[in-house]
């Protein structure tokens, strides 16, 4: 595809510059991605100072791996995120990051996305339809905007690790599905399932705290 080809060409140019010792090219990449590395690292460790250490560790790993990096196998960006995530997971295990909201934290969540109580029970002619309409919540209302932002952050960073990873990369950092699958070594269907579970949990959490009767 045109975009993939253009992206590949950019990556080849960047790679050549980095391997030639072009500091300006490296700092351009740092300015573009360092903030994202910190935000993703905060999904694994509690403190900003630790997240900064993780990000620097990732940059060190990235630079050390440059001679071996194969642009046919991944983009520079997904390669960088893959290294970051490995560093962050290792540090997160050591830090034993707590998950404050047990309602969102269940990793082995194979249950329904929405509580069955929200739907008309089996045996009724309207079985499976909403028993009461979802409560509306407005994230852009100035009256709730700051609270909503805090709740949104709280909800996303309290998700189970696999769901949190996907939602932060896709919805916060804006990576596309292919990039997230590459960075996290996920299949496309698995990525979709994790993303939908994450988004649903966050949406339901916001509804519970901000929702008004429709």
């Amino acid at each position: 595809m045109a975009r993939d080809h253009a992206q590949h060409e950019c990556d080849l140019q960047l790679l050549a510059a980095l391997r030639a010792g072009d500091e300006r090219a490296f700092l351009t990449l740092v300015r573009a991605q360092h903030g994202a590395l910190i935000r993703v690292a905060l999904g694994y460790v509690r403190e900003a100072t630790i997240a900064e250490e993780v990000a620097q560790e990732a940059w060190a790993g990235f630079l050390e791996s440059l001679p071996r990096f194969q642009p046919e196998a991944a983009t520079v960006k997904t390669w960088l995120f893959r290294i970051l995530i490995n560093c962050a997971r290792a540090r997160g295990r050591n830090e034993r990051r707590s998950v404050p909201l047990s309602a969102l934290a269940s990793e082995a969540d194979e249950g329904p996305l929405v509580s069955p109580e929200r739907f008309v029970p089996e045996g009724h002619v309207w079985a499976g339809h909403w028993s009461s309409a979802p409560r509306k919540f407005v994230l852009d209302d100035p009256a709730v905007s700051r609270e909503a932002r805090e709740l949104l952050t709280e909800a996303i960073y309290s998700l189970p690790e696999s769901q949190r990873e996907v939602m932060i990369l896709r919805d916060v950092e804006g990576l596309d599905a292919d990039e997230v699958c590459s960075a996290l070594a996920l299949s496309e269907p698995n990525q979709r399932v994790l993303l939908h579970r994450a988004r649903t949990k966050v949406r339901n959490y916001l509804e519970a705290r901000l929702g008004k009767e429709a």
Binding site: E23, G35, R39, W59, P134, L152, A177, R192, H196, R203
Partner: protein, 88 residues
């Protein structure tokens, strides 16, 4: 899961992941879209899901690394470059 014109709301909720990612087949996509036209509850649910997703991107700030961080990373780059040039 097969989705047809008689799809239930709880089935719609489960299928939304694939629907929003455009991973459903054309017939299933149309069935979901038709349901969203007639079901106020599901339409509201999807709208809020989309809003939540869109709002998540606002958590991304444009902060650039401070000078101290850039200085550390410059040193890191120089060290790695020296290491690479020193290798046989």
């Amino acid at each position: 899961m097969a989705i047809d014109a008689h799809v239930r709301c709880d089935e719609i909720v489960t299928a939304l992941g694939d629907f929003l990612e455009r991973a459903l087949g054309p017939e299933e996509t149309e069935a979901v879209e038709q349901h969203l036209v007639i079901c106020v509850g599901c339409a509201a649910y999807v709208a809020e899901l989309r809003t939540t997703t869109a709002r998540a991107s606002s958590l991304r700030t444009a902060d650039e690394p401070d000078e101290r961080t850039l200085s550390c990373l410059r040193a890191l780059f120089a060290t790695q470059r020296a290491t690479d040039e020193g290798e046989p």
